[in-house]
Amino acid sequence: MPRDVLVVDDSATMRKMVSRTMDLAGLDVGNVYEASNGIEALAQLASHCVSVVIVDINMPTMNGMQLLRRMKENDRLKGIPIVVATTEGSQQRIEEMNALGAQGYLRKPFRPEQLRDVLQPLVGVKDDAGTATTASGGNLF
């Protein structure tokens, strides 16, 4: 069954790229909801149930780290897997995200196979017949 995803990034171009990359990666994604900051993301999460949130760190109004904290403090949202997609590459930042509960980390730019490795355990992939195939493993924290 296709899984819905929320993509949070202040760049409309990047949101479209992530959506396109998920399709290229053969991931079994249904609806792709978008938000340009953490506030919009919380509004989307209030209206839609998603299987994973892909979030950038550097955003105005409410950044990715703040959104991560807010989701983990919310009983309804804390169980939603979060994958951070960022330009930052410091080891300390990666550890901070891990400590905040992020399930995965992708450094931009990422290839379809890299996105698939992280998201496949969460949304599954389409097989050649276009049906979903769940998989174990993946490149998660």
């Binding site: 760049s11 171009t13 990047m14 790229m17 960022t86 330009t87 930052e88 590459g89």
Partner: protein, 156 residues
């Protein structure tokens, strides 16, 4: 700017351009058309060391960038509508990699939100950046400038 940093900047720009936008830089610079419309986008970073990366390019380059990122033709409307945003996102990614290339992965750096400005013609002050990396991408001139610490206010 040290020559080593300049080479790192040039290499990081080429790698990011290829990996993100599937575009390739030619080291041979193209003369700047003094009457052409240009764009400057900048991202600063803050941490143990502060710096800024600026990218200067033609509006035509920004449209090509958007087309490549979105997977559409340059003449398509989305390529023009999203040209500014695409350029800002490209520099956002580039700056993250420049920071890593120059300063490593040990320290945490925060990046600013990219800022962008259009120019009807390239300002004469841009000729005063001897350390600018000058390349050509699909026939369009592109200039990348790295400013460190107290020199961040120079060249404005």
């Amino acid at each position: 700017m040290q020559e080593q940093q300049r080479q790192l900047l040039a290499a990081t720009f080429s790698d990011t351009l290829a990996d993100l936008a599937f575009m390739f830089a030619d080291d041979e610079p193209t003369p700047v058309d003094p009457k052409g419309a240009w764009v400057e986008v900048s991202v600063s970073y803050h941490g143990p060391i502060e710096g800024e990366v600026r990218l200067r390019c033609t509006e035509a380059f920004s449209v090509m960038m958007a087309a490549n990122l979105l997977g559409v033709a340059p003449e398509d409307e989305p390529a023009h509508d999203e040209a500014d945003d695409a350029l800002k996102e490209f520099l956002n990614v580039l700056c993250g990699h420049v920071v890593t290339a120059i300063h490593g992965t040990h320290d945490v750096f925060s990046l600013s939100i990219p800022s962008l400005r259009h120019y009807a013609s390239p300002p004469a002050s841009w000729d005063q950046d001897p350390d600018a990396v000058e390349v050509t991408v699909q026939g369009e001139p592109v200039r990348v400038v790295y400013l460190a610490q107290s020199s961040c206010t120079a060249g404005t």
